[in-house]
C-alpha cells in the first residue's frame, strides 16, 4: 500500500507545473485509490467520480440560476436579486447568495399532491427525470483524463439516456390529472421528438469525420493547432453548420426560450409540472438545468474542442477550466436568447424543425462526406461552403415563401 502511494507521488513530482495543475484531480483520485484494498478499487473509483459530478454540476446550477435572474433583470432594465450574500454577515456579493434561500424555501415548502392525481406515477416522475439526466454526465470528458466511464459507444449512450426524459415528462403531465399539465406534456414530447432528429443528425457528422463514437476520441481529433488556433470542428464549414443546428436543437431539447412552449406561463401555467410543489418542483427544475448543462457539454465536446484551449499560447490553463468556461459561455448565450427572443408558435416550431433543420442536417451529412474524401487544400473549403450556403439560401427562401408577413392586426386590443 505505502509503496503505491509513493509511486503516485513520484509520478506527480515529475510532471511539469502546468500538468500538475491540470492533473491534480486525477492524481488525488489515484492517491485515494492507492489507500484502499484491491477489491474495493472499482467501487471507490466510481464513487469518487460520481460524487465529483454530483457536487460540481448542481453547484454550477445554483450559480447559474442567480446569473440567469440577474442577467434577465439587466436585459429587462431592472436589478434582479441583489440583496442576499453570505448568511449572518453584511457581505452581499452582488446577490450571489440568492440560491441558498431559494434552496431552503423549496425544501421547506409543503408538498401538495392533487387529490385526483395518480399517486405513484406522480411521485416517480421527478425521479425518472433526474436519473437519466445524471447518467448522461457519465460519458462527458470534463478534462484531460477526466471521464467517468469512457466506453466505445459513448455518444450513443448519451442520446439513449436522453430518450428516457420524454417518458418522465409524460408521467408528470399525465399523472397530474390536469389539462394544463397534459397539454404541456404533449407539447414537450412533440417538441423533443421533433428536435431530437436534427440534434442527432448534426452530431453524426462529427462521428463520420472522427470515425468513433467515443467522446475522448472526438476531443483527441480536435487537439492540434495550426497558426496557433485549435482545430475545433466548429471552424470547418460542416462543423459550423453542425454547431448552429446542434445549438438550436439543444435550445429546443432543454425547453428554453424561444422554444419554451411546454411551460409557457402565459398559456398553460407551468406546463407538465404545474401540479408539483416544494422539493419535487425543485427536482424538476434541477433536472431541466442539469439536462441543459449536459447537452451543452456534449455540444462543447463535439464542436468546440471539449477541454482544449482555443489558442495554443493559452494551453497552460487547466483543461477542466476550459470545459467549464466554454459551458458557462454557452449557458450565458442561452440566457441572452431568453431575454431577447419572443416565444414561437406551435406551427412555426414544427415547420422550422421539419422543413428547415432536418433537410439542412441531411445536406450537412453529405457535405461532411465530401469534406472527408476531397484532398486537403483550399478547394474543399470552397466547395463545402458553397454547397452549404446554397442549400441554406434555397431552404430559407422556401420556408419563407408561403409566409404572409405584414402589419399585425389586433382584434380586441385596438
Amino acid at each position: 500500500m505505502p509503496g503505491k502511494i509513493q509511486q503516485v507521488i513520484e509520478t506527480f513530482k515529475h510532471l511539469s507545473l502546468v500538468d500538475k495543475f491540470d492533473q491534480i484531480f486525477v492524481v488525488l483520485k489515484q492517491l485515494v485509490l492507492a489507500c484502499v484494498p484491491e477489491a474495493l478499487q472499482p467501487l471507490v473509483s466510481g464513487l469518487l467520480s460520481v460524487v465529483l459530478v454530483l457536487s460540481v454540476f448542481p453547484g454550477v446550477f445554483a450559480i447559474v440560476t442567480v446569473i440567469e435572474r440577474k442577467g434577465l433583470g439587466r436585459i429587462q432594465n431592472r436589478y434582479g436579486p441583489n440583496r442576499v450574500g453570505i448568511p449572518f454577515t453584511n457581505i452581499r456579493l452582488c446577490g450571489f447568495g440568492q440560491f441558498i434561500p431559494d434552496g431552503i424555501k423549496s425544501l421547506t415548502k409543503e408538498d401538495v399532491v392533487p387529490y385526483a392525481a395518480d399517486q405513484v406515477v406522480h411521485f416517480l416522475a421527478p425521479i425518472v427525470m433526474l436519473i437519466p439526466v445524471l447518467l448522461a454526465y457519465a460519458v462527458l470528458p470534463f478534462g484531460r483524463n477526466m471521464t467517468v466511464t469512457d466506453f466505445d459507444a459513448g455518444l450513443l449512450f448519451f442520446f439513449a439516456v436522453g430518450g428516457a426524459v420524454e417518458v418522465s415528462v409524460f408521467m408528470a403531465g399525465w399523472s397530474s390529472h390536469n389539462k394544463y399539465s397534459l397539454l404541456g406534456a404533449m407539447r414537450a414530447i412533440a417538441q423533443m421528438v421533433s428536435y431530437e432528429i436534427p440534434l442527432i443528425l448534426s452530431a453524426v457528422t462529427v462521428v463520420m469525420i472522427v470515425g468513433s463514437l467515443k467522446l475522448t476520441d472526438v476531443v483527441a481529433a480536435q487537439n492540434h493547432y495550426s497558426f496557433g488556433v485549435a482545430h475545433w470542428f466548429a471552424f470547418t464549414p460542416w462543423g459550423f453548420v453542425g454547431f448552429i443546428l446542434f445549438f438550436i436543437a439543444a435550445l429546443a431539447e432543454s425547453n428554453r426560450c424561444p422554444f419554451d412552449l411546454p411551460e409557457a406561463e402565459s398559456e398553460i401555467i407551468a406546463g407538465y409540472f404545474t401540479e408539483y410543489s416544494g422539493f419535487k418542483f425543485a427536482l424538476f427544475f434541477l433536472g431541466e438545468y442539469l439536462g441543459m448543462f449536459a447537452i451543452i457539454g456534449l455540444g462543447v465536446t463535439l464542436f468546440l474542442g471539449g477541454w482544449i484551449s482555443p489558442l495554443s499560447f493559452l494551453a497552460w490553463v487547466p483543461s477542466y477550466v476550459w470545459f467549464l468556461a466554454k459551458m458557462i459561455a454557452i449557458v450565458f448565450m442561452f440566457i441572452w436568447i431568453r431575454g431577447t427572443l419572443p416565444r414561437l408558435r406551435m406551427d412555426q416550431l414544427m415547420n422550422f424543425a421539419w422543413k428547415f433543420m432536418l433537410p439542412l442536417a441531411l445536406i450537412n451529412i453529405v457535405v461532411a462526406g465530401i469534406w472527408h474524401f476531397m484532398s486537403h487544400d483550399w478547394q474543399r473549403w470552397l466547395v463545402c461552403a458553397a454547397i452549404i450556403f446554397g442549400s441554406y439560401l434555397v431552404l430559407g427562401r422556401s420556408l419563407m415563401r408561403n409566409q404572409k408577413l405584414g402589419k399585425r392586426t389586433y382584434r380586441f386590443a385596438e
Binding site: V121, D152, A160, V167
Partner: protein, 172 residues
C-alpha cells in the same frame, strides 16, 4: 446465473407481467417501458453495447411514447370496470403451456443446435457500423425505404383531404 442477471431477469419478467395485467392502460404502457429497459440491461450485461443502447433509444425513447400517445388519443382516461382476464383464461394458459413445452422440447433436441457454447465474438460498435455500411448496405437501405414508405402511407391515410365535394356529400 449471476446476481445481476437474476435481478434484471426478475425485473423484466415482473414488468412484462404487470404490463398485461394492470387495469389502467397507461400504467400498462409504463410497465412496458420498464420491461424494455430491462431487456436493454440484459443486452448490456451480455456486452452488446450497440444493441442495448439502440434498444433504449428506439423502444424507450420512441416506441413507448408512440404507444402512450396512441392510448391518449384513442381512449378516455377512465379505467374499464370489466375483469382483466378474459373468461377462457384457464384454457388459454393450458394451450400456451403445451405449445411452449413442445417447442422447447423440439429446440433442445434439435441437431441444428450447437452443443457447445461458441466463443463470444468481439464485436465493437465500429465493426457493426462497418458491416452495415459495406456488406449489409442493401438490406439496410431496403429497410429504410420500407419504413419511409410506411410513414408516408400513414400520413396520407391520416391526411384530411380539403376537397370541395366532401362537404356536399354529407348532409346531416
Amino acid at each position: 446465473m449471476s446476481l445481476p442477471f437474476l435481478i434484471i431477469a426478475f425485473m423484466t419478467v415482473f414488468a412484462a407481467a404487470a404490463a398485461m395485467s394492470l387495469r389502467n392502460l397507461v400504467h400498462c404502457a409504463l410497465a412496458f417501458v420498464v420491461a424494455f429497459a430491462g431487456l436493454a440491461a440484459m443486452y448490456l450485461q451480455l456486452d452488446a453495447q450497440f444493441v442495448g443502447f439502440a434498444q433504449i433509444l428506439v423502444y424507450v425513447g420512441a416506441i413507448a411514447i408512440l404507444i402512450v400517445f396512441a392510448i391518449l388519443l384513442t381512449r378516455s382516461g377512465d379505467t374499464p370496470n370489466e375483469a382483466v382476464l378474459a373468461p377462457g383464461w384457464v384454457y388459454g394458459i393450458a394451450v400456451s403451456v403445451v405449445v411452449f413445452t413442445l417447442l422447447g422440447w423440439a429446440v433442445l433436441n434439435s441437431s441444428a443446435l450447437p452443443k457447445q457454447t461458441p466463443l463470444a465474438p468481439v464485436a465493437t460498435v465500429k465493426d457493426i457500423g462497418g458491416l452495415l455500411m459495406t456488406k449489409y448496405v442493401l438490406p439496410l437501405e431496403i429497410i429504410g425505404l420500407l419504413l419511409t414508405a410506411a410513414m408516408i402511407g400513414a400520413v396520407i391515410i391520416a391526411l384530411k383531404e380539403p376537397s370541395p365535394t366532401a362537404n356536399s356529400g354529407r348532409k346531416t
